[in-house]
């Protein structure tokens, strides 16, 4: 037992932090010390954490820059919301429907990750980044012109407008182009979000430690060396990329079942969202899963905490972002920080010990 604990210390600490935060917020909710604004932010926050953690798998562990993560989230959101909408009243109870919706979101986002990854993962660096961005935009645009309706004769599809579906009088619009899906059952809540975060963390942390995860990291560090020891580069790259996409799909399921009307706009599924998630990952530390969780929480709450400053809050957010990047990564700032830390009496001993 003790050995098991030692081996998984890192994982357990991360899971502990998330559980602690969940318990704390639950207590605050029960005590009524939480504003309604903050309450409304909890489920999106959970999906952002899942997105950040899953993107870290692509950026940190696989070492490829992806700017289209929101596209996979979009697929998860729309496929699952579509499923929930047509099965509402058919599959009872609600939780079973939600679990099935999650599986569907996971599967379809993963499938698209696989299909997109096959041609794209041949590219490198910034080229890969721009193609993933392009795919994210394509997914968003296609969903915006998609019309699906249902009547007694079955399902109808169109990519023109709602009229050309030719629905009967009693027909029901399911996906209404740019208006998206309305009336998705509100299945997700904070507890469901918490459970999904825990599952995501366990999947990813175990994946990193597994044989497959080590192979993926070997590819990241040196493709040629990895190939020469017999690692199937394409296979492991695709595996990591699809898993990351599938988990983004789960985040999409959580996100979509929290909204009454689901629309694909630039803000929630476009490149703005992809970039926001990337900011979480980079600021939390590339490759550090715990860092992604923490930075997703802080950066989601920061604009809300700054709400008192109204118009200036996004400006401050931008300045904080730039300043943190410079302070964390600029070589001159790092040297300065080390000098300052070395001067403090408490750290002096530690750094002296290190040198020995």
């Amino acid at each position: 037992m003790k050995e098991l604990f030692k081996k998984n210390k890192d994982t357990l600490i991360t899971l502990g932090i998330v559980t602690g935060a969940y318990v704390l917020i639950e207590i605050l909710l029960k005590a009524g010390a939480v504003s309604s604004l903050f309450k409304g932010l909890l489920v999106p926050l959970c999906s952002y954490i899942i997105l950040a953690v899953s993107l870290n798998l692509t950026v940190g562990i696989l070492g490829e820059l992806s700017l289209g993560h929101a596209g996979f989230m979009c697929i998860g959101a729309f496929t699952s919301a579509f499923f929930s909408k047509i099965t509402v009243g058919v599959i009872n109870p609600g939780w079973l429907r939600f679990v099935l919706a999650i599986i569907i979101g996971f599967f379809f986002a993963g499938l698209f990750g696989f299909l997109i990854g096959m041609p794209v993962l041949r590219l490198k660096g910034d080229y890969l980044a721009i193609v993933t961005l392009a795919f994210g935009e394509i997914i968003k645009n296609v969903i915006n012109v998609l019309y699906i309706g249902r009547d007694s004769r079955g399902f109808h599809f169109s990519i023109k407008d709602s009229v050309s579906l030719g629905l009967e009088e009693d027909g029901q619009m399911l996906i209404n182009g740019a208006q998206g899906i309305t009336g998705t059952p509100k299945d997700s809540n904070f507890t469901a979000g918490f459970i999904l975060i825990m599952i995501t963390l366990i999947i990813i942390l175990n994946f990193i430690k597994s044989r497959e995860g080590r192979a993926v990291m070997a590819i990241r560090d040196n493709v040629i060396a990895a190939e020469s020891v017999g690692i199937n580069v394409t296979r492991y790259k695709l595996l990591a990329f699809s898993l990351s996409a599938a988990l983004a799909g789960v985040a999409g399921v959580l996100y979509s079942h929290n909204l009454n009307s689901l629309m694909a706009t630039t803000k929630n599924f476009g490149y703005n969202m992809s970039i926001m998630i990337l900011v979480f990952v980079v600021l939390g530390g590339i490759g550090s899963i715990r860092g992604s969780v923490i930075s997703a929480i802080i950066l989601t709450l920061l604009p809300e905490l700054l709400r008192g400053l109204s118009n200036y809050r996004m400006l401050i957010y931008a300045i904080v972002l730039i300043a943190m990047m410079l302070f964390n990564w600029a070589p001159s700032a790092r040297a300065f920080r080390e000098r300052m830390v070395a001067r403090l009496p408490f750290f002096k001993k530690k750094s002296a010990e290190k040198e020995v």
Binding site: G125, E137, L278, M314
Partner: protein
């Protein structure tokens, strides 16, 4: 005839993309970074022209001159404050995120000063539309944009290949260390690149807002992304590549808007990009890099 007019509009839009893409491609070639804030420099430049011409009623040439000066100063300042300290950083992602931060910063500054309302931008082009035959009309904006783009291309190519400063840029983009050993001031050369790129962004902003006369703090972001796609399309780092990429992108976008679906035009543009990159991973005119073991 309708086809011809769509084609000319496409070329004119593509010429704007090409001018913006030049900024991206030069900066990428020399600093190896995606300058995400480039689109927002365009927006700032357009606001400067809007202020000078529409609010202060000063002549147009003064507005354009001021806009170019402001954008140049802005580009150099951004490079010095936000990008230069990170040049030696271990991960190239850090500069990318900082650039995103700068982009947010510029958008929000514009939002605070000018508000979120759309401003009606009055065209600065004094030329009337030219009519050829019955149905073909070419707007003055299209003519000016295409001519401006061609002039900029020629001047820039001459500058890079013939002048000392231009060749220093080529040298730095080839190998920073070696260029420094040859006595080239790398910092100054990179600043110069940002200055030229941002000045071009100002001109692109004026042309873009003259053709599509609405101005918001987010005006620059989508053309910025599209121009970046154009730069990648043509082979990032290559000046003729940016030109060709921009023009092709503009034509595809306009024709698909006219004949297929206006909502799907972006998706079609991105599809073409993906096909090109999958077939030729370094873009149309990109250099092929040899992989070393």
């Amino acid at each position: 005839m309708a086809f011809l007019s769509y084609l000319i509009n496409g070329i004119s839009l593509g010429a704007v993309y090409a001018i913006i893409a030049l900024g991206y491609t030069m900066v990428y070639g020399i600093a190896k970074m995606l300058n995400f804030a480039h689109g927002d420099v365009i927006m700032i430049g357009s606001y400067v022209v809007f202020c000078v011409v529409s609010m202060l009623n000063l002549p147009v040439w003064l507005g354009i001159l001021l806009s170019v000066l402001v954008c140049t100063a802005l580009g150099v300042t951004i490079e010095a404050i936000a990008y230069r300290p990170l040049r030696q950083a271990t991960s190239s992602l850090t500069v990318l995120i900082t650039a995103i931060g700068v982009s947010y910063f510029l958008q929000n500054v514009a939002l605070l000063i000018f508000g979120a309302n759309t401003k009606a931008f009055t065209s600065v082009v004094p030329i009337d539309a030219v009519k050829i035959g019955e149905s073909l009309t070419i707007t003055g904006e299209s003519i000016v944009t295409i001519i401006a783009c061609i002039i900029i291309m020629i001047v820039l190519t001459l500058f890079v290949n013939k002048t000392k400063a231009g060749r220093a840029m080529l040298a730095v983009s080839e190998d920073k260390g070696a260029a420094q050993l040859m006595g080239i001031n790398v910092n100054k050369t990179i600043s110069l690149t940002f200055a030229i790129g941002s000045a071009l962004a100002a001109i692109a902003g004026v042309l873009l807002c003259s053709a599509y006369p609405s101005l918001t703090p987010y005006t620059g972001s989508m053309p910025g992304i599209k121009a970046f796609v154009a730069a990648v399309f043509g082979g990032i780092g290559s000046i003729p590549g940016a030109f060709i990429g921009g023009i092709i992108l503009g034509i595809i976008e306009n024709l698909s808007k006219a004949y297929i679906s206006s909502q799907l035009s972006d998706a079609i543009v991105f599809c073409v990009l993906i096909i090109v990159l999958v077939v030729k991973p370094t873009g149309l005119l990109g250099k092929k890099l040899q992989e070393k073991v």
